[in-house]
Symmetry: C2
DNA sequence: CCGTGTGAAATCGTTCACAGCC
DNA sequence: GGCTGTGAACGATTTCACACGG
């Protein structure tokens, strides 16, 4: 499994820079907006301008994965959307479980953007007995100790951690034990996880701090 | 205003890589945990190991801003926390307003992590008359058209956009008109803003897509 | 003529390795 | 002995610039 080079897979996904993958998501989002607005095609220049990148950057990013454009024409929005979804892995649906049904957990359960991008929230779990046994926005809430059977029986692959910092590591451990292979962590701690479980952290306070630094030092796009 | 070099400000903040600033937030978070756990000092090696970085990276990052450690000893947690807060600009409190009191807006209003890191949510606004006039978790909710006076009278500097994608640009424009200087955007769109307004975007679906890619291509730390 | 895909060059960020200090 | 701060080497990513295709 070294460097094969089939028609649309020029490189091993592992050697694609992380930054490229995150821009891919932005391209996807913008392309969906463009398509919804009636544009059948676009170009690297246009796409880049709308997102604040150069045309060369857009072309180079896409070139990691194949040849998607037509010289003189640009990219067909519909085709490129399908291609990026296939690259990201969101050309199929993923089953997701949420741990923690506090304010944030509830907001995540109700967030429409997940469903539209390929994610099914199949269940939530919480320690608080006053909330378990009900449904929140159509998603059933179970006690924590049922996590194992939920993940196994429903084939859940991803877990969202939406509990306080103090219990986040335990929540993540439970998810790993239950068998999920990816974790999106909203608690303000760095999780310690086995290498075969992927994870991404989103820290709301941290994001505000980045904004602060940027404001305190004048301007984000100089 | 070229390269001055005062005692603890070796570089112009503008030429600090974005990645460095985002790691600074992680250092801060970890240092706070360390201090709370009773550690008075730490070292670049320890701090890095806990976060998945090398010791050299930690030292290099901090060296952008000054000399904070003692050879042979390491860093005093309390002092380094204060230094990083000063760099990020969170050594004072920032006033924040939230636009949009749906599921996500409510979760943000109730999020304890903001207050503990220096952010005061002073008000929220929404178009829905059935929610305005009340308080949510102690934060007053006003009609949208009062945004201007709220920002002006309370000296609000930052705005959080927690409305659907379709109205996010309008919400952001209103914030800019009202006078905020930084925007944290949770809507899945790229905002078009004047250069003198900083912004950071957090797209929940995008984060899940990154996770997907990582899972679909085996392992996050190979 | 416009726009892609891509070597080659330039830029940027990370790691190495070590002098100096506690 | 342990640890910081930092030039210098290295590796990675971005930008340039142009040959080729519709």
């Amino acid at each position: 499994m070294s460097n094969s080079r089939r028609k649309s897979e020029p490189v091993d996904p592992k050697e694609v820079p992380k930054a490229v993958v995150s821009r891919l998501s932005l391209y996807l989002r913008e392309l969906q907006h463009l398509l919804a607005a009636g544009h059948a095609t676009t170009s690297s220049g246009r796409l880049g301008r709308q997102l604040g990148f150069t045309d060369a950057q857009v072309r180079r990013d896409l070139a990691y994965f194949g040849h998607f454009g037509q010289p003189g024409v640009g990219y067909r929005c519909g085709e490129l959307i399908a291609a990026i979804r296939s690259i990201l892995g969101t050309d199929r649906r993923w089953r997701v479980v949420i741990v923690g049904v506090g304010n944030l957990g509830r907001a995540l359960i109700g967030y429409k953007g997940f469903g539209s991008q390929g994610f099914n929230i199949v269940a939530a779990v919480d320690v608080d007995p006053s909330i378990t046994g009900r449904e929140v926005e159509g998603v059933p809430v179970y006690p924590l100790d049922q996590l194992d059977s939920i993940v196994r029986e429903q084939g859940v692959e991803l877990g969202l951690v939406a509990v306080p910092a103090a219990t986040a590591q335990k929540a993540a451990d439970s998810l790993v034990t239950a068998g999920v292979t990816g974790i999106l962590n909203f608690a303000p701690v760095t999780l310690n996880l086995p290498d075969d479980v992927s994870h991404v952290g989103v820290d709301l306070a941290t994001e505000l701090e980045q904004l602060c630094f940027s404001v305190a030092n004048r301007g984000s796009q100089p």
